[in-house]
């Protein structure tokens, strides 16, 4: 019997029971599509998290004070410092020392930062409590990747003159001004009047914190009128390039250790958050997340596989009598096995390929705010596993039935 004949027999076998064939195909389709979609959603969310981190600013180091007693060094000063009595706050002098080209050649810019907590911002009767008040230098905008959408940043002149100008985030702008242009308007921040010079580009929320709910003003202006001339809350250092962040971290550590009198190997009174390290850590975490999703996908593939197994077993068992008839009229085992294997292959392929198609269409749409990303290996895996299971569990019982003596197969009920 030619392969073409066997193919015709297989097609006829499938068409003889259209509903069963369609349901089997549907089962495989769902299994395959589920796996591909789940992996795609995992990959998509992992990418979106990484993008969010990159949006925080690349190549930056954030230096913040660290006290063994815990808590942020607020207005209190050294007396709250706990066991390490020599621990020092971060100061403007520290920040200035880091700008030294010979001591810290890998540092591009240094932005000292003070944070005010949740100030009330009002404009013409509208009031909004901003999530974050930042007093800093202009280099902060570039270092933390905060471009302005309207207006401008403030400049070094503004810092030197301690001008009361402010750049506000989209959320603040929306709350206070609605659709109007806030640039040039005067708002009052915790009762102190500031002039809006710019509005930040929308950054989106990350990890439950609204990155757009922010008010940024020159450092001296904030210290003068709002927080007082206490220590810095942090210093944002931008390295000269992605490759230089490690070197910059080493240089910053050396400068600060010297200035703060930290002995080599001793516990430092500050800590450095490296954006690159953070990114690595988070990629690891999202990797774990993807693995978790893949495990869920694997289980759904397994369940789908059991479904295929079930249908194939039932289909072949139900047709044992037919196999008996075919044997009785002289069908060789190869022809019977070929027909059933081909039927299983056609079903698996039809189901698998339409599953891929459905998953492909599905990944065009965002799911719960996440744009899924199709992973080619998941397509291959899902197709391979479903086809393999279909072939094995279609072929195995068919082979068993084809091996029976015709009379045994015929008597099968």
């Amino acid at each position: 019997m030619s392969p073409y004949e066997i193919l015709r027999f297989a097609m006829r076998g499938l068409l003889a029971n259209k509903l069963r064939s369609a349901l089997t195909t549907l089962g495989i389709l769902i299994g395959v599509a589920a796996v591909i979609m789940l992996v795609a959603v995992g990959e998509g969310s992992s990418r979106s998290i990484q993008q969010n981190i990159q949006r925080l600013g690349a190549n930056t180091l954030t230096i913040s004070p660290s006290f063994a007693g815990g808590g942020r060094g607020g207005m209190g000063g050294p007396q709250q410092a706990g066991p390490r009595t020599q621990a020092r706050e971060l100061t403007l002098a520290d920040a200035r020392a880091l700008t030294d080209r010979s001591l810290a050649p890998s540092v591009r810019s240094v932005s000292p930062v003070v944070n005010g907590t949740a100030p009330a911002v009002t404009y013409a009767g509208a009031s909004h409590t901003a999530g974050q008040l930042v007093g800093t230098y202009p280099s902060y905008f570039e270092a933390t990747n905060k471009p302005v959408a309207r207006g401008t940043y403030f400049f070094d002149d503004d810092v030197l003159a301690a001008r009361k100008v402010v750049v506000i985030g989209q959320t603040v702008a929306g709350e206070l001004f609605g659709a109007r242009d806030p640039v040039g308007e005067q708002v009052s921040v915790a009762g102190v009047p500031f002039t809006v010079v710019g509005v930040l580009k929308e950054a989106g929320s990350t990890g439950g914190q609204d990155a757009d709910d922010v008010v940024i003003a020159p450092l001296p202006a904030v210290q003068q009128s709002l927080t007082g001339f206490g220590p810095l809350d942090s210093i944002v250092v931008q390295a000269s390039g992605a490759a230089a962040t490690e070197a910059a971290q080493a240089e910053v550590t050396a400068v600060l250790n010297q200035r703060h009198g930290v002995a080599a190997g001793g516990a430092a009174d500050y800590r450095i958050l490296n954006q690159a390290t953070l990114q690595e850590t988070v990629s690891e975490a999202t990797g774990t997340f993807t693995v978790l999703l893949a495990a869920v996908a694997a289980i759904s593939l397994l369940v789908g596989g059991i479904g295929i197994t079930n249908i194939m077993l039932v289909t072949v068992t139900e047709r044992t009598r037919e196999i008996g008839i075919r044997k009785a009229i002289g069908a060789p085992r190869g022809a019977i096995l070929g027909q059933f294997l081909l039927e299983a292959t056609l079903l698996s392929l039809a189901g698998g390929l339409s599953g891929v198609l459905v998953a492909y269409v599905g990944t065009r749409f965002a799911i719960a705010g996440i744009q899924p990303v199709l992973v080619p290996s998941s397509v291959a895996l899902a197709l391979g596993v479903s086809a393999g299971i279909g072939l094995f569990f279609g072929g195995y019982p068919a082979n068993r039935a084809a091996k029976l003596r015709p009379i045994q197969a015929l008597r099968h009920e």
């Binding site: 027999f9 009598r321 009785a328 009229i329 002289g330 015709p406 015929l410």
Partner: protein
């Protein structure tokens, strides 16, 4: 004298083990000449179906030799056995055993397809076989659109389409009404006239009356072997079939 189409020596078939052992055949010896028309009779449990299944190569005997056209069936491998079933033996079942959802024509073509015969020849031979059993106008009907008698005639057409040396029929009229029985028996008579070797099982005397030779089985042994007509003559048709 030519070798018998079918030759059986000391055929034994046992089912089960130990206390539950049933001896369905207890040493059957049988020769069937070319062109003969043999009816095997016996009560249920006499072993006639077991004998038939072994003759059709659907089952294997526990012991004993079985030759078809001089070839020892017991020595054939799986593949040659399939070829033998396909070319030498045509089998008609009591319950028709047509493949559902396949047209009468496709059912009759099936043995030819497994025999590796090309499509055009397959079609013409299958049509000829269906015409021979008087179903030329039903070729595209599926089994469930045919009456029992028509289904059985399709089954006969399927059994003879490969021009086998031997046509075996296991109670071919057991599930049929009188009219259909007459149709099927007329086809068998005509095949016998044209020189085909036929062995059929029945427990009806009316059916056995069509055969040239009647064999009676009791408890797995042949107890009577009666010739009703010469091997090379026409079958002894009773008046009702001739009418």
């Amino acid at each position: 004298m030519t070798a018998p189409v079918l030759s059986v020596r000391r055929l034994v078939k046992e089912y089960g083990e130990g206390d539950a052992k049933v001896r369905a055949l207890r040493g059957v010896d049988l020769d069937v000449e070319r062109g003969d028309y043999v009816a095997v009779m016996g009560a249920s449990g006499s072993g006639k179906s077991t004998l038939m299944n072994i003759l059709g190569c659907l089952d294997v005997p526990t012991s004993g030799r079985y030759l078809i056209d001089g070839a020892d069936v017991g020595e054939l491998d799986e593949h040659r056995l399939a070829v033998l079933r396909n070319r030498r033996v045509g089998f008609v079942f009591q319950s028709f055993n047509l493949i559902p959802r396949m047209s009468a024509l496709a059912n009759v073509e099936l043995p030819l397809a497994y025999g590796g015969i090309g499509r055009a020849e397959r079609r013409s031979r299958a049509l000829a076989a269906l015409e021979r059993v008087g179903l030329a106008d039903r070729v595209h009907h599926e089994p469930n659109q045919l009456s029992g008698g028509q289904q059985q005639r399709v089954a006969v057409a399927r059994a003879l389409v490969t021009a086998p040396a031997l046509l075996l029929a296991d109670e071919p009229t057991g599930n049929l009404d009188t009219a259909s029985t007459r149709d099927v028996l007329r086809v068998l008579d005509e095949l016998s006239v044209s020189g085909r070797t036929i062995v059929l099982i029945t427990h009806e005397n009316d059916v056995a009356a069509h055969a040239k030779r009647v064999i009676r089985l009791v408890d797995g042994e042949i107890v009577e072997d009666r010739r009703q007509a010469p091997v090379d003559g026409p079958p002894p048709r009773p008046a009702e079939a001739a009418a």
